[in-house]
Homo-oligomer: 413 residues x 2
């Protein structure tokens, strides 16, 4: 059993964090588009950034800051323009944005981590950035998480946030977070961003390792083709304001903190998958019996990324053949004659061969998930069991609908 509980407050739930989100004028729609997260004290900063060869200026800046100092006070994020493929001018804009935020906050520019999301090839308009900054800083508050979550969204239909609490040394320790996603996670204007806050006292190297491992088991297991945008970023601050004992080496306390971090990241990852462009349901693929955890995750991700599995789910079609075919091409050797596949709790394939099943009931199971949008019931669970070892893994995605095509066919023109 998890020894933490969900609480309110999102990214500002942990001690010593504040946030704000305003409409600065980057989005033509007039929606909120500039967000700030602030730690009252200097925080250990870790991150996982896009592996793409085509990176936005902000990603390069974050990489530099995380390497050089590994400390930060604030995260600044604009939505509307990705500021990727914008050359030297784009790099200057990113630097100027950071400078403006630092000045308004009275902190060092080195303590600000920048993030951008929006159209590739478009620079950040600097006039709204200059005009908006005082208003953004004035709006910052311990209740600002939802406003920040709204301001980092692009085509997202729902805001995504999480807050979890556990107890250490008799005191509460919290992890919070907000995220944005949408699209198939690599779209133009559907960068995956996740900002995590934590008030535990943890060493820089441990925190970096925890964040990297948590990303492997959450955001990296979301949907679609191994896609990565030019701007993807997970940034995680730990400021020690819980005033609990410092966690400086591996052990039970570090494990508990990491487990809670993984849970927080998985909550956001699931929310991103659920809110995929055009999605009518969340697909969760669970794999067990793989040679190892990495192999299990690889199979799970291949299945959940398969356009055929996704389209069949949208069609409420319990098409186990596509699930088996996707698993078979995941690059993991396994004995196909021992493969088991279940949809919900209904076995469809056993010992590598189809099991007679009630097709209508299986289809109804898929139907029901789509009928409960954004509620707990909106999840289609696909379970694969192999006979190769004890490796386990999970991946999340969504179905492929007409709306996905519509949204992505009619995007810039």
């Amino acid at each position: 059993m998890a020894d933490w509980q969900a609480i309110e407050g999102g990214v500002t739930a942990p001690q010593g964090f504040q946030a704000a989100g305003i409409a600065a004028g980057f989005k033509a729609s007039g929606q909120p588009d500039l967000a700030l997260i602030l730690s009252e004290t200097e925080a250990i900063a870790a991150g996982v950034l896009t592996a793409s060869q085509v990176r936005a200026a902000c990603v390069d800046d974050c990489h530099q800051r995380l390497q050089d100092r590994g400390l930060a006070r604030a995260i600044l994020c604009n939505a509307g323009q990705a500021n990727a493929a914008t050359g030297e001018g784009g790099r200057q804009d990113a630097r100027e944005s950071v400078r403006l935020a630092a000045e308004a906050l009275g902190i060092s520019p080195e303590a600000v981590l920048p993030a951008s999301t929006g159209l590739i090839g478009e620079r950040i308009p600097m006039a709204p950035m200059r005009r908006g900054m005082p208003q953004l800083v004035a709006a910052i508050s311990p209740q600002g998480s939802e406003a920040a979550a709204r301001a980092i969204a692009t085509t997202d239909l729902a805001t995504k946030s999480v807050a979890l609490e556990t107890e250490m040394d008799g005191r509460p320790v919290r992890i919070g977070g907000i995220a944005k996603g949408s699209g198939m996670i690599a779209p133009n204007m559907a960068t995956m961003l996740a900002f995590i806050s934590c008030d535990a006292a943890v060493s820089r190297s441990l925190w970096q390792q925890m964040v990297a491992r948590a990303a492997e088991r959450s955001f990296n297991q979301v949907s679609i083709d191994g896609d990565t945008s030019t701007n993807d970023a997970l940034l995680a601050l730990a400021n020690g304001q819980s005033r609990t004992g410092a966690i400086v080496e591996p052990g039970p306390k570090a494990e508990r903190l990491e487990a809670m971090l993984v849970a927080a990241c998985q909550t956001l990852a699931r929310a991103i998958a659920r809110d995929g462009e055009g999605a009518t349901c969340l697909i969760e693929v669970r794999v067990s019996g793989a040679p190892n955890d990495r192999a299990a995750r690889q199979i799970a991700k291949t299945v959940v990324s398969s356009p055929l599995v996704k389209a069949a789910t949208f069609g409420r079609d319990p098409n186990w053949g596509r699930i088996a075919a996707a698993a078979g091409r995941a690059g993991v050797p396994f004995d196909a004659s021992a493969l088991q596949i279940a949809l919900g709790d209904r076995l469809l394939l056993d010992g590598g061969q189809p099991v007679p099943f009630d097709r209508q009931a299986a289809s109804a199971y898929l139907q029901q998930a789509a009928a409960a949008p954004y509620l707990d019931g909106d999840t289609v669970t696909i379970t694969l069991s192999l006979d190769e070892g004890s490796g386990q893994g999970v991946a999340w995605g969504c179905d492929l609908s007409y709306d996905y095509v519509r949204i992505n066919a009619e995007y810039t023109t």
Copy 2:
């Protein structure tokens, strides 16, 4: 310049090949569904089979035969049931089908290569196989290529065939072929099958190497997610009936034969991509300046497989940002500030930054491709230039339309 020419005749164009296709009753629609290709004399046989862990019985049989003997007289293919994930019963059906064909042809069962395409998990109904075999063998003729091409099709909208001729030692040497594809190449009933015939006299080991390399540069560069079905197979017979000198070692003649083989395979690969489920146009992605050819092919395939690039193409949206993002995540390191992207002959990105271009004209270029279905003009060409070396590569795919979702959402139910 290529020193071969396109001719009529498909898979039966080379000397000594015959083919047939009949409606045996495997498809509920009553369409042709059983095909046979026969070489009048024993032929060198090479093949490339699905790398999936979940393989149909026929794939295992072909693997065995190609390894054991590397010789064959016939290829037998049924359409309607994939006979994958069908266990021991399925394996017996595959063996029995081969035995029936061999008996009717008066040849050894070891000389028959089996292939199946259709629904995964469904066994081949043996009654139609028994009933149909005499009719199939009676129908075999040197003009049977188109009938065979029709009988291996499933959701394909067009048959796919090729025949090329060159001259060696003053005599014609020919390569022919038929193929089926559709879907995104991994669908349930959209296995990629390609059967190649050749009348050159070539050694077994050379032919196997040529076929493997040709597959790398053609079928393996078609579309979508690295998808592989349970039944994918390229089978290639070379029977020496051109009565030209034997090609037994690398050299100019071997290179010419291989170049013609690559051209034949690429023609079929393009036809498969063009006929992808719901496609309105063919997308050809050409990459140059990569560190090596393999890296170039990898980038080309990643771009052509991107659901976002595909959906944008369907939307006639010259969205270079998605092309750049897909290239960036292909796993090949490159200097993004030297990246060039062109759509047709229109430059969209240069030196890693957007070039002002006439968006309407670019959209019209995309529109025009869709207006010329299955004609030469129906190709959208995307060209990427890097500054990393001299590696070149091409990949083919198609756009992502509402119809793709419809076809795949409403497939089995």
